[in-house]
């Protein structure tokens, strides 16, 4: 068995302490150790974006990042966007615009879309396309995804 180490970080707003193998990637810590299966494995090489999470406010491919590097940092996953009362506006927009079909890529897509909208209130359709280029969806053809993101940007939420 691999050498293990204990790390502490904030996950979706709550402090966590967890022991992880030093070779484990963040994606598998989230899925297999912390049971947060919203973040998906789809390629494991940073090419598809299904495992996108926020780390200190910036999006990363959790499949490329060692879990130990979460130590002392702020991690937000798809499960952390929703409040007790309601879906996050980006999640609601994806639902309302029919941007979700099989939905497998959507956790990563929504986290990335939220990051883009949060950091650029003037986000254009072209910037959206470029910002979502690393998130592969095989179902939707992206059109409704872009419509959903546009609606959030326009509403200023």
């Amino acid at each position: 068995m691999s050498l293990k180490t204990e790390i502490r970080f904030r996950l979706n707003g709550r402090p966590v302490t967890v022991e992880v193998p030093v070779t484990m990637k963040t994606l598998f810590m989230l899925r297999d150790v912390l049971d947060l299966t919203g973040t998906k494995y789809a390629c494991g090489e940073g090419e598809c974006g299904a495992c996108t999470i926020k780390l200190d406010g910036k999006t990363v491919n959790s499949c490329l990042m060692y879990a130990v590097d979460c130590d002392g940092r702020e991690v937000v996953t798809i499960e952390g966007l929703k409040t007790e009362e309601a879906l996050h506006p980006m999640q609601q927009a994806f639902v309302d615009h029919g941007a979700i079909q099989c939905g497998f890529c959507m956790p990563g897509m929504i986290v990335q879309a939220d990051y883009l909208a949060e950091n650029n209130p003037e986000l254009s359709r072209e910037e959206m396309c470029r910002g979502l280029e690393g998130n592969i969806c095989r179902c939707t053809g992206y059109t409704k995804v872009l419509d959903a993101v546009t609606s959030v940007v326009k509403s200023g939420q």
Binding site: M1, R31, L36, T37, G38, T39, K40, Y41, A42, C43, G44, E45, E47, C48, A50, T77, I78, E79, L81, K82, L87, Q91, Q92, F94, V95, D96, H97, G98, A99, I100, Q101, C102, G103, F104, C105, M106, P107, I110, E126, M128, C129, R130, L132, E133, G134, N135, I136, C137, R138, C139, T140, G141, Y142, T143, K144, V145, L146
Partner: protein, 775 residues
């Protein structure tokens, strides 16, 4: 006597054509949905497969003793554990092999407590191979001295299909113009975002439960059973949410029986899940083919015949891929009015990966050829392409040579609507004139159309779907349907239909469709059939329930049932809308009355169509539909890059049911077709996949999506639910030839071989320039 209540006419509906949300979307948007890939069962083991990693070889010896001894390993399997358990379309496959016929062949499998241990165990298995000469193209496979891949299949011949109609020699002689080309369509793969996964568990009565991604749960049992040597009745299929399917889950693939065989050996549940690299190498492909097509016409532009000689790369085993000629011949014979047809297709075994079904099955390949030849003929006739298309377009009431009866045919309207929406004819002329001029960027516009079955496809004896509908004492409806949900949105369609007929809110309807022990028979999600077939089933069941409820309300209210309606959770007077009784109150009264009655109805809907039959002449679908795409492209003549700027689509959808879901299907279908046309390609070298990763296999991402202008033609299909037809494959079928025709319009170069990559385009442009300068 109870009165008969008929289904709501479309004029009286309130939701048809509106935007309905997918009921599973909130859970999918929040990461709450547990896909099969996310599932963990108590005591579950991880199964891993040892793939051969070579295309053709004998297995001289295999030693698993070290793997078996590794702590944490609970079972190791090799070819001897599956000996004789043949499965597949022609029973040419086994779960674990004694001989290697393609790169991903499954040589051994282990079940262990963790993935790490399973991988370690695979590394301890020693296999000695003796490599054999391989066959990597169907042309090589049919050579006289070619190595025979399977003992049971001489000359490497797999399936053969033919269809002849009319006198080809006479039609040939009567043609003023004939185009004759060889088209090559390549291997691509589905790239489902959720990789292939199965979880299997046996109970102590010998019954298997398999959690599966299948999109055809009932025939799946029949196909899986021989791979395990058990009775299909002893298999329960549970379908958790899946990360895409697109046809790839329409057959049994070896990892599924392997999960079951490991579960049996270990006595514990076993999960097998592919890595992305395994997915690229081991999941089915779209069928690759070489299509020699000829189309003739007279000088006034009337089509005289079409012939196609198709050679299919069967790959190592026979799944659904080599059966695509069943659809290919329908397109060859039914795409425009073709009086004489000659179709011939032969599949040849090779040591390449093998194809399954993929969205647009067979039609994608053939329409790439037919739609380009329509464009070629128009040019050679010096006729406006639109005029040529319209002249040969079938009309309602016509029958194709294979006896497909086009009850409601809207090809004319699709052509005219699309052409008008984007000013096709003017742009086509203008770009054609500009193509010889200087300049780096060339614009082009291309039109293509396609026909596809849109009311199921009776390739089995049945094309039916069962539905059970119950309405409980709180007026909540549960629809237990055979139809599978793989992301396409049948859940929203059924909710819409039942809500419409029973006047209950969408959110008061629950669909149960994920357990073969509960839900009734269905043929599966394929052939653009589910909205049509399961939608009709849901409607018929809902109408029965509506009738029963209104009859009960009539007895209680002493008003004629025909004067009553169900709206907003109430029984109301049909004319004035006055409330008669709250629906849930009525249902409780029905339960509690002296002669209690339960609202629980069943329906079995079998579409009005005939089985395909051995001679391939039958009206095999209850509806047919056309789609027209017009692609506008910019070709960078320096880099060879083709950018699709805009796609105008006009499709006969019969009737729009869920507008959002329909648009979503068409947009997604276009994206898959776009990748097929321009960038996706499984690069095989001697049977070995060179690009098993997204970095090297380019699927369409957001920046490549063109602007889309979608038009829906509502031909009001008499047999369809509220007039609707199936819709989801046509957009994938028709986009590639539209792009090829647009690239021709821009550059004057025909691309008969897919994909149309920058490398091919820039090379062709360079060659054209060389030829021009030499002359």
């Amino acid at each position: 006597m109870d009165e008969r209540v008929i289904a709501l006419p479309v004029e009286k509906t309130t939701l048809i054509g509106k935007r309905i949300k997918k009921p599973d979307a909130p859970d999918k948007a929040t990461g709450k949905t547990r896909f099969i890939n996310d599932m963990v069962l108590p005591q579950m083991l991880i199964g891993k497969i040892l793939h051969a990693g070579r295309p053709h070889a004998e297995i001289v010896s295999i030693d698993v003793s070290a793997a078996e001894k590794l702590p944490g390993v609970h079972g190791v399997l090799t070819g001897k554990d599956a000996a004789g358990l043949k499965f597949g379309f022609v029973r040419d496959n086994v779960a674990l092999k004694n001989k290697v016929c393609c790169e991903h062949d499954e040589v051994a499998a282990v079940a262990a407590e963790t993935e790490e241990i399973a991988n370690q165990a695979l590394g301890l298995i020693k296999v000695e191979y003796k490599d054999l000469p391989g066959i990597f193209s169907p042309e090589d496979g049919r050579k006289k001295d070619a190595t025979q891949i399977h003992d049971d299949f001489p000359e490497n011949k797999s399936l053969h299909f033919e269809f002849k109609h009319g006198d080809l020699a006479a039609a040939d002689a009567a043609s003023d113009l004939i185009v004759d080309n060889v088209f090559e369509v390549h291997h691509v793969t589905h790239c489902c975002m959720g990789t292939s996964c199965a979880i299997a568990d046996f109970d102590n009565n010998g019954k298997l439960t398999i959690w599966s991604q299948t999109q055809y749960p009932y025939n799946y049992k029949m196909d899986l059973a021989p791979a395990l040597g058990i009775h299909p009745g002893d298999i329960r299929v549970i379908q958790p949410p899946v990360g895409g399917a697109f046809g790839s889950k329409l057959d049994v693939y070896p990892y599924e029986p392997i999960a079951a065989l490991l579960a049996k050996k270990a006595g514990r549940p076993v999960k097998v899940m592919y890595s992305r690299e395994e997915e690229f190498k081991s999941a089915p492909t779209r069928q690759a083919a070489i299509i020699h097509m000829r189309t003739g016409c007279t000088k006034d532009g009337t089509l005289t015949f079409r012939s196609a000689d198709v050679l299919l790369d069967n790959g190592a085993y026979t799944s659904w891929g080599p059966t695509i000629p069943v659809v290919m011949m329908r397109t060859t014979s039914g795409h425009y009015r073709i009086p004489v047809v000659d179709f011939n297709a032969q599949a040849i075994y090779t040591n390449n990966p093998y194809a399954g079904s993929m969205r647009g099955y067979g039609n994608v390949q053939t329409t790439f050829a037919t739609a380009q030849q329509m464009d070629m003929l128009a040019e050679q006739l010096d006729m406006e392409p639109l005029e040529f298309h319209l002249k040969n377009a079938q009309k309602s009431g016509e029958t194709t040579p294979q006896k497909a009866f086009l009850r409601e045919c809207a090809l004319d309207e699709c052509l005219s609507t699309a052409a008008q929406a984007c000013d096709y004819t003017n742009k086509h002329k203008q770009y054609s004139l500009a193509k010889g001029q200087e300049g780096r960027y060339k614009k082009g516009i291309g039109l293509a159309s396609a026909i596809h079955n849109a009311g199921g496809a009776k390739i089995h004896k049945s094309d039916g779907c069962g539905t059970i509908l119950k309405v409980d004492d709180y007026a909540r409806a549960t629809v237990i349907t055979g139809a599978s949900e793989i992301g396409q949105g049948i859940d929203a369609i059924i909710n819409l239909i039942v809500s419409e007929e029973l006047g209950v809110p969408l959110e008061h309807i629950t669909i149960v469709n994920n357990d073969s022990d509960i839900a009734p028979w269905d043929v599966g999600v394929h052939a653009s059939r589910t909205t049509f077939i399961a939608g009709n089933g849901a409607r018929r069941a809902a109408v029965q329930a509506r009738q029963q409820i209104l009859n009960a309300a009539a007895r209680i209210s002493r008003m004629p049932a025909g004067d009553l309606d169900l709206r907003g959770g109430f029984v109301v007077q049909e004319q004035c809308g006055t409330k008669v009784i709250k629906l849930e109150k009525l249902l409780r009264q029905m339960h509690f009355q002296p002669e209690p009655e339960l609202v629980m109805v069943t329906d079995y809907y079998e579409p009005n169509s005939q089985p395909e039959g051995a001679d391939h002449t039958s009206d095999h679908s209850a509806a047919y539909a056309h789609a027209v795409h017009i692609a506008e492209v910019t070709v960078d003549t320096y880099t060879g890059e083709v950018k699709v700027d805009r796609v105008t689509s006009a499709q006969d959808v019969g009737r729009v049911l869920n507008r959002t879901g329909l648009e979503a299907q068409i947009e997604g279908g276009i994206a898959i077709g776009l990748g097929y046309a321009l960038s996706e390609e499984m690069r095989l070298e001697n049977g070995m996949l060179q690009n098993p990763r997204f970095r090297d296999y380019k699927v369409v991402t957001a920046p490549e999506m063109p602007a889309l202008d979608l038009h829906f033609i509502e031909s009001d299909c008499a047999e369809g639910p509220y007039g609707a037809k199936g819709a989801s494959e046509l957009p994938t079928i028709v986009i590639a030839p539209a792009i090829a025709n647009a690239v021709y319009n821009a550059t004057g170069i025909r691309f008969l071989k897919l994909p149309i990559t920058p490398e091919k385009v820039s090379r062709a442009i360079w060659q054209k320039q060389q030829t021009a300068s030499e002359n």
